[in-house]
Every structure is written in structure tokens, then in C-alpha cells.
Symmetry: C2
């Protein structure tokens, strides 16, 4: 099969890779209908995360089941499925508590590489969620978004305790931040402030439910959020970047007793304990337990109540993955969908 492999920072190649095969009796093999590039794929692409030899890329996926192992009981060949970037048993104590991303048997899909024609999905019964039927083609981007960015933005909003009557600020205008806006809208937020200085992203934020746009950053951005939120700060802030600046901006924009949901993969962040102490905010986040939200998100997409697939503003054949990485790296695209 064809698949994307990162050889060195900036050097993504689509090449012939061995077809995946059932290894564990709980595995499934799926044929991808669509796959995509994640903001987190840019960390090794940019050389910020070290690379240990050529690495198959990608961890987002939707597709049709080709084959299942002997112990798979609920997933059958021919079904259309969506899964998260963690393969999980969905039965252990942590999964049952809603933290599938900490499943005691979890496997990171990124190590398997879903920017490809086929993928092996471990723990298929726990990991995969079957759609009600074969989806119309126009639903596929949204179902693919559910696999990571939508589920991650949703977890950010839940972690930030978004709800009716609340003022929510979103730090980060990437696909996750924009999906955080969408999630905040669905969860009933009264006011949603998107922090963005890029016109196309501002437009999509408004389409997803943002009521206000703040272009300022740092202290000015914090001051602006406070001004919009009764002088006290937002009730809920979704952090979707993962830098020191964005984390502090999120904490400082939140009122005492408010909640920060942080889902940007943290790089070189050290939170000052005294500031966190006196801020009196709640802090929760990490790798999103997307599996928990998938059934609900698939329903919303299936009923055409949400259209998170709009985050894909570039679609290219898998063979042109290198162009897609470049477009995202240069912020010419919010998120690139690849068709195998």
C-alpha cells in the first residue's frame, strides 16, 4: 500500500509500505476513506520533536472494515467506522471513568501511521464506532474531524466546564480551537470569544458560533477578554496551542473559580505555582478521551446539526502529502484532508 513517511524535518514522502496484517486477534484492518494531517504532526515535521529514524505518519482515520481478528465480536467487515488516535479497550476502570486516553491497554495510532491506504486498528471492539450506515460523501470530512480535532476541542470545552450562561474564551485558532468554538456553542455557552488574527479563521470561528473576535495577544489579549467578561475574566477558557504564552494567557483570562481546559500538546511549558495558586482557576486537560464523545459526535454529524468538516480547507490526494504538510506548516491551510 501507499503511505506517508517522515524522513527528516520537512521531508515527508509517500512511498510503498507493507500492507498491514492482523497481529492480535483483537485487531481490525480498515481501508481509509479519508485521512488528514494534525497540528501535532507539525511538531516532528518542524524538528521541534526529535525523530528516531523514518516514521509512518498520521493518527486520524475513517474508513471501511476489511478484516477482523478472531476475537473481534462487535465490528464486522464492510462497516464504516470512526476511531480515535488512541486504540483503547473501552472496558478498563479508566475507560469506564471516561478517560479512554489513559486506558491501561492503550496503543497510540500515530505509531502505526494512518496517512495511508490501509491501517491496522488494535482493540477494534473498544476503539471503533460504527456509523448508522454508509455515509454520504459530504459527511466524510466531518466524521474524520470527529476522529481527533472535534473530539479534542469537545474535551477542551468539557474540561473548561462550558455550559449555559457562560462566557467562554478560546485561545488558538487552529482546527482544535475552532472545534472548541463549535463545542462551546453546542454546550450552550452564552458568549464565545475566539482569539484569532487570521481573517479566514475568524470567519470560520463566527460560522461555528463565536460571538466576538479578539485579535490582541499576551497582556493586551487578557485585558480585552476581561473587558468583554464583566471585568472579572471568562468563566471558561479553552487552550488549544500548548505554549508557555498561550497557557498563561488562558490562566490569566479566567476568573477566580473559573475553568481552563487545555488541549494543546504542551511544549516547554512551566507553570508558576504561585500564579496558579492565586488565580484560583480549575485546570484540566491532556490527551482527549475522544472515544467517550464519538457516539454523540457521530449522531450530531449524521443529523447534520454540526459540520466540523469545514476545518478542512485543503483536500489533496495522499500522494501529495508533502504539499499538504507544507501548506499547514506555512499556515496557508487550517487543516489538510488526504484522499487515499
Amino acid at each position: 500500500m501507499r503511505g506517508a513517511v517522515l524522513y527528516a524535518p520537512g521531508d515527508v514522502r509517500v512511498e510503498q509500505r507493507p500492507d498491514p496484517a492482523i497481529i492480535e486477534p483483537t485487531d481490525a484492518i480498515i481501508r481509509l476513506s479519508a485521512t488528514c494531517i494534525c497540528g501535532s504532526d507539525l511538531w516532528p515535521y518542524r524538528g521541534v520533536e526529535a525523530l528516531d529514524g523514518p516514521a509512518p505518519m498520521g493518527h486520524e482515520y475513517v474508513g471501511v472494515v476489511e478484516e477482523v481478528g478472531g476475537q473481534v465480536t462487535t465490528i464486522r467487515p464492510g462497516q464504516f467506522v470512526v476511531g480515535s488516535f488512541w486504540a483503547t479497550d473501552n472496558t478498563c476502570e479508566l475507560c469506564r471513568a471516561g478517560y479512554q486516553s489513559a486506558c491501561v491497554h492503550r496503543v497510540l495510532m500515530g505509531t502505526l501511521g494512518t496517512q495511508a491506504e490501509l491501517a491496522r486498528v488494535p482493540l477494534a471492539d473498544g476503539t471503533l464506532v460504527v456509523t448508522p450506515d454508509m455515509p454520504d460523501a459530504d459527511l466524510i470530512p466531518s466524521l474524520l474531524a470527529a476522529s481527533d480535532v472535534l473530539g479534542t476541542g469537545w474535551f477542551g470545552a468539557v474540561s473548561a466546564d462550558v455550559g449555559p450562561g457562560k462566557t467562554v474564551a478560546v485561545v488558538g485558532d487552529g482546527a482544535v480551537g475552532l472545534c472548541g468554538v463549535l463545542a462551546a456553542k453546542q454546550l450552550g455557552a452564552e458568549r464565545i470569544i475566539a482569539m484569532s488574527r487570521h481573517e479566514p479563521r475568524q470567519r470560520l470561528a463566527r460560522e461555528f458560533g463565536a460571538t466576538d473576535i479578539v485579535t490582541e495577544r499576551g497582556d493586551d489579549g487578557v485585558a480585552k477578554i476581561k473587558e468583554l467578561a464583566g471585568g472579572l475574566g471568562a468563566h471558561s477558557v479553552i487552550e488549544a496551542v500548548g505554549t508557555q504564552e498561550s497557557m498563561l494567557q488562558a490562566i490569566r483570562s479566567t476568573r477566580p473559580g473559573g475553568h481552563v481546559g487545555f488541549v494543546g500538546l504542551a511544549h516547554d511549558v512551566a507553570l508558576p505555582g504561585d500564579e496558579l495558586f492565586f488565580s484560583l482557576v480549575h485546570l484540566h486537560g491532556g490527551p482527549a478521551p475522544v472515544r467517550q464523545y464519538l457516539p454523540q459526535l457521530i449522531d450530531l454529524i449524521w443529523d447534520r446539526e454540526i459540520d466540523p468538516g469545514k476545518v478542512f480547507d485543503l483536500t489533496l490526494p495522499l500522494e501529495q502529502a508533502a504539499d499538504a504538510y507544507r501548506a499547514m506548516d506555512e499556515r496557508r491551510a487550517i487543516k489538510a484532508l488526504l484522499t487515499p
Copy 2:
């Protein structure tokens, strides 16, 4: 009146200070029945916090109202009252949300100095809670504990989401940590693990409801907590120290999806963002909104259902405050009560 003043690290003197007077029409003057020394008073006493000239000390207090300002409506001379270390209006948006320690009009009692015969209490209507009657003498230490350490330990337990069926670990065996144990018991925790290597404190922890004692610290302490908590870590961890080591110990002892309630005043703490991210814990804490809990805590004490006054294992006349500071500094006393 007589009052304690810190002149330099290690140099506490009880001296003649001017009697406090009503300054704002919302003030009350109280005559202290008892006061005490807080673990946080040891930071400037030890020279860890800088001192800007001689400072009146103390922020914990119970006593009888002597006089009230013209705008005080609910508090009357002759009443026995308990207040928190923040004077607060109890009516602003943050107070109504339960975050009195972030009240927009708050005044830190520590700047006024309650290790004295008399104290001025700003915002008396919002700050002070009247007991049902004049208390029996044996209730006074417990009511004084409610003024800070009990309310702070309670906030730690609430922030750590303590509840029925949960395994709770408490990092720190000072008065706040011990009150955290008591709070966890009251809030219905199934298992309460106190981390302590001091025999008298271990004994009090057991009396307050601890089911297990862990003497190990650092990585060994974390391993022990995990072992006691099903291999996954505690559901709830109360952090009551405020150092880098204790914060990391708390985070690492908590299972993914679990809660850390941190109430130890943070000193030189920098939390690594990536570790926090992948831990998937909830983090909440800060200066406790003790005022929120005072009515409930006073009821529990009045009905003799809890006896947090046991944290006072040394009682001295106010005049001997210097001896009391020394005893706490040298960990010969858990907490010292001073009788004016």
C-alpha cells in the same frame, strides 16, 4: 493593647500596639478569645518571605464583638464571631460564586494582625459568622481552627473532589493536611491515606479518619499510594505543603481523571506542562474561600461532630508568642494556640 510583631526572621515580640478603632463604617472591633500561629506565618519567620519593616502578625481569630461601624447591620456587640483570613463583602459576583477569597473588596486580615487582644475586622457583615450562643470554653479551639486550617483543609478536600467510594491521599501532615483528613472523612471518603513520618501526627491523622499511613516520600511515596489505590493512583489528592516536591508527589499519586486539591501556599513551584498534560489530572486550589464553609463547619463543631481543635497541641499566653513560634518552627508543635 498587646500584640505580636515580627521584627526580623526569628524575632517575634509581643509589645504595646495602638488599640484598633473603627475606620470604615462597615468595620467591627472584636476582642479575641483565642488566636494562633499559622504554618504560613513561618514563611516570613524563617526569612523565606521578605519582610518590609516590623509586621503585626496573625490572621486567625475568634472573639466577642466590642463595637461596630454605622453601616454594620447583622453583627452586634456582645456576639461571639468567627471569621476567615480574608475580610470579604460576601455579596459580589465572585463571593456569590463561592470564591470569597477572590472577593472584589477583600482585605487580608494578616495585614491587620490578629495575634493581639483586639482586632479590626473590615466588611463585618460579610466576613463574620455568629455562633448560636456563647460557646463552651472547650469549643473555642475548634472554632478557631475553622477560621483557617479547617476551612483550608475542607477546600482542599472539595477541590480534590472527595466523596463516597473514593480513595484520598493527603500530602502534608501539618494542621491543614490533618484537617484535610478530617474533611475527607466528613465528605464520605472510603479510604484516606495520610502521608506522615511523625508519630504524633500519624496518631492524630488516624483519630481524624485516616485508614492508612504512608511514611515514604518522593517516588517511593508515589509508588506506595499507587499500590494502595488499585495500581492506578488515588482518585483525590489533597496537597497541603506548597513545595515543588509535594506538588509533583500529589500529581503523580493521582490517577488519570482524578483530582488534586492544592492548598499549600506555593513557593518556588514550576509545574512541567508536559507532565501535567499527560497526567490527565484535574488541578484546583489556592487561597481557600473559608467564608463559604464557615456556617457548615460551625454547625459541625457546635454539634460536637468534629473536633478540629485537636490540631492545637500547644497553648500559651499571647505574651509567650515567641516561644510558640519557636516550637512550631522546630516542629515540636503542630499548631500553637495563644490566649490573649
